[in-house]
């Protein structure tokens, strides 16, 4: 009997799965994770993304006069569920999905081989497959603004600044406390290269997932007596790291975190252990930008907010979500410049991202001046070489700790090209772009 019910339900769903929506809108799939081990990080990001899309619809009437349509799909940070969401949403909408933003490196990898066949671009802003920055080998993947390796060079530059100059790095001891996963180990090679270049001593300290208990790790770190500590965590590991560092008597001023260890979710639970902690960010801190005022006005005041109103402009991951929305909308906008004011397809949006040129005028017009740096993407450079900001936690909010720090592409680009050409040789891909 249950079997029969299941079968009827399944056939019902099958029928629905095949129907398509016919509204003439750009379709943006929002693959979020609001549950699971990283749900607390994923929920504000999704809120930011959707709020921005709603704001564009309300304030500008969509992009090029065509409204935006979106659908959320819960992935729980699991690759197989992400693949299911991807397959389900990729053909939705009149012209298909415009762009996917997985917000997870493992999730990115699970679809990276499909996007070329499905002709849908992937934006992996600040994460993802680093060597995809080489657009000549990976035409459909865009690690926009900054990738893991570029971020690492910026961090070393910042530490150099703290020490009084890059030459002062020689002989210093830097500890790299990282999450024991592919994400955490990713910066190993580039850090080692910089250690060679600048003459500092580097030691890695992996933290077992999920990182609830780090006492032993930080005692180890203290035994090493580092001058600076790089924190590369994700999820609950970050706050525990800050707390255990305080317990191990390592001052928070000496800890520099990556962008994914840089949100209120990490610093607030750590209490006073986080005061003085610095970390990197792809955008400027603060909530005074016009874009957040617009979101409050057009979305939340109209009663249409996705998440709690306190998050708007005040929560780092919310702002990351808004940034995701900004990139999507700018890409669609650029695509409409060439292809006209109609719902954009994935292929057209890909062209849009590849020719993205966010000048100061455009940033001013969209209300995001000073929020993000100017970005220019090209065929071979899918990253944009954007600089990075460092911010310091003062106990209640993040405040700027540095000016825009540029990344060192002289170190990063050769490594990327070496890796991507190895990949191209393995798969038999001929480089495009020239």
């Amino acid at each position: 009997m249950i079997y029969r019910i299941l079968v009827t339900l399944i056939s019902y769903i099958m029928l629905i799965g095949i129907t398509v929506s016919f509204a003439a809108e750009h379709f943006v799939p929002v693959t979020s994770y609001r549950t699971g081990p990283y749900g607390i990080s994923g929920a504000p990001a999704a809120n930011g993304y959707v709020d921005y899309l709603k704001m564009i619809n309300a304030r500008d009437g969509g992009v090029g006069g065509v409204k935006l349509d979106w659908e959320e799909c819960e992935t729980a940070y699991k690759p197989d569920r992400f693949v299911e969401c991807y397959e389900r949403l990729k053909n939705k909408g009149v012209a298909g999905a415009t762009v996917f933003q997985p917000l997870g490196t493992g999730l990115t990898y699970s679809v990276i081989d499909r996007v070329a066949d499905d002709k849908i671009p992937l934006i992996t802003m600040g994460y993802g497959r680093t060597d995809a920055s080489d657009g000549s080998i990976f035409p459909w993947v865009f690690p926009l603004l900054v990738n893991y390796w570029s971020l690492s060079t910026a961090k070393i530059k910042y530490i150099g600044n703290l020490a009084g100059g890059m030459d002062k790095l020689k002989g210093l001891k830097i500890a790299n406390v990282y999450h024991d996963s592919a994400y955490g180990k990713e910066t190993g090679p580039v850090l080692e290269k910089q250690a060679e270049l600048y003459g500092f001593d580097l030691k890695g300290f992996p933290v077992a997932h999920p990182g609830l208990d780090q006492k032993a790790t930080w005692l180890n770190v203290r035994r090493y007596k580092p001058d600076y500590v790089i924190l590369r965590g994700w999820g609950v590991m970050n706050q525990t790291a800050l707390k255990e560092a305080a317990r191990a008597r390592i001052p928070a001023e000496n800890i520099v975190g990556v962008s994914w260890s840089c949100s209120e979710l990490d610093t607030v639970p750590a209490g006073k252990a986080a005061v003085g902690y610095t970390c990197s960010s792809m955008y400027n801190p603060g909530s005074h930008y016009k874009v957040f005022k617009d979101i409050l006005k057009y979305v939340h005041e109209a009663g249409n907010g996705t998440g709690p109103i306190e998050e708007v402009g005040n929560q780092q991951l919310y702002k990351t979500g808004v940034l995701m929305g900004i990139m999507t909308v700018e890409a669609i906008n650029k695509a409409t410049e060439k292809y006209g004011n109609k719902p954009m397809s994935g292929e057209q949006v890909r062209w849009g991202i590849e020719n993205l040129d966010l000048t100061s005028e455009r940033l001013e017009k969209m209300g995001i001046k000073d929020f993000i740096p100017n970005v220019k993407i090209s065929c071979a450079d899918h990253e944009g070489g954007a600089p990075v900001k460092f911010q310091r936690w003062n106990g209640t909010s993040f405040e700027p700790a540095s000016d825009w720090v540029t990344t060192d592409q002289n170190i990063v680009r050769p490594m990327i090209e070496a890796s991507s050409s190895a990949y191209a040789a393995e798969k038999g891909i001929t480089p495009r772009c020239n």
């Binding site: 799965g17 929920a43 799909c73």
Partner: protein, 355 residues
């Protein structure tokens, strides 16, 4: 009225020993196989094939493996995902180092490596049983996860630690679209299912069931406990390893340890609990239930309410429904969906009479 064995005489010993002795059962099986091989590929689109049917088949293979261990041999194992990981990595490593070897052999090798590892971690079963054994397998789960994250040799020194599985090709055909993957996976799973069904009613299967029911008595009548238990671990891990290799190649396209974490182990355990311990069809029914339920809820949630209920709430409700169903099944029918199906068939034999 329709489902009777009256009038079905067997005229040879072979016919008497067939897996499905009742004619109607055989017809049903033929129809189901025909559906799976011929009808589904035509009516199902890529999404259904690639995201629902293939994961369903691969997970039911893993559930089959765990069913051999827990359902037939009575040894609880919470480390099935770790054996899947071993299979996936072993297959990847063999293929990457010696690319000339045909894919079917690569998958077999994944299964064999997993069987070896399974037998090693099954050694404690000779001393401990029941719940304590589950803990030993948990040790396997965590250890193997750590092993694959830490030693770059397994990922062939790739820079990012997440390896893309190379595309498959079998007998010269490239297996890169969901349809061909579906056929490969379906064939393997059907063969394994029949194999296990046969194994279960052979001498080894009976030895397993004797060990499950009371191993001291089994030892007393002469069954070699060590051989039986280790064989159970070996066969179960072989199937799990095969499933893991298929999961990496046919479903995800990447080989990474995170896909085989402890949540996956519990998922497979739930499949056999809900589906029914100790039956082949139970593995399929349970896997179908667990694979389809989240998708159903997700779709229902977004369609029926138009986004009014957040995906987060739906996910929480999904957890609650999972837990509630498991408790419900254990109370109402500890032998799972398969037993319900069997009861249904028995009622069908008497139909239209009530008893």
């Amino acid at each position: 009225m329709f489902y009777r064995e009256a009038g079905q005489f067997k005229t040879s010993y072979e016919a008497d020993q067939s897996i499905l002795p009742i004619f109607q059962d055989r017809i049903a099986m033929y129809i189901m196989l025909m559906f799976a091989f011929i009808v589904f590929p035509f009516i199902a689109n890529d999404y259904w094939l690639g995201s629902i049917l293939i994961p369903f088949l691969v997970l039911s293979l893993a559930a089959l493996g765990l069913n051999v261990l827990t359902g037939y041999a009575g040894q609880i194992s919470l480390g099935s995902a770790a054996f899947m990981a071993v299979g996936a990595f072993a297959a990847f490593n063999l293929h990457v180092r010696i690319p000339e070897i045909p894919f079917l052999v690569v998958f077999l090798w994944g299964g064999l490596c997993s069987a070896a590892v399974g037998m090693i971690f099954g050694l404690p079963s000779l001393r401990i049983k029941g719940f304590y054994l589950a803990v030993a397998t948990l040790a396997a789960q965590f250890f193997i996860e750590w092993l694959f994250t830490h030693f770059d040799w397994f990922t062939n020194y790739s820079t990012s630690g997440v390896i893309t599985a190379p595309p498959m090709h079998i007998f010269g055909f490239a297996i890169d679209n969901p349809l061909s993957k579906y056929f490969v996976v379906l064939t393997i799973v059907v063969l394994c299912a029949f194999g296990i069904r046969n194994l279960a009613r052979s001498e080894i299967g009976r030895a397993w069931m004797a060990v499950r029911d009371m191993d001291i008595a089994a030892e007393a009548i002469g069954i070699n406990l060590m051989k039986t238990k280790l064989l159970a671990f070996g066969v179960s891990s072989f199937l799990c390893g095969l499933a893991g290799a298929l999961w990496a190649y046919a479903v995800l396209g990447t080989v990474e340890p995170q896909a085989f974490d402890i949540i996956r182990s519990f998922e497979i355990l739930f499949m056999i609990i809900i589906g029914g311990l100790g039956s082949v069809s139970g593995a399929f029914l349970g896997a179908g239930f667990i694979v389809l339920l989240p998708i159903l809820l997700n779709n229902l949630g977004s369609l029926v309410t138009g986004g009014a209920i957040s995906t987060e709430t739906i996910a929480h409700i999904e957890y609650m429904i999972f837990g509630a169903f498991i408790v419900f099944f254990l109370i109402v029918e500890p032998n799972g969906l398969a037993r319900l199906w069997q009861i249904g068939k028995e009622k069908l034999r008497l139909w239209p009479f009530p008893y």
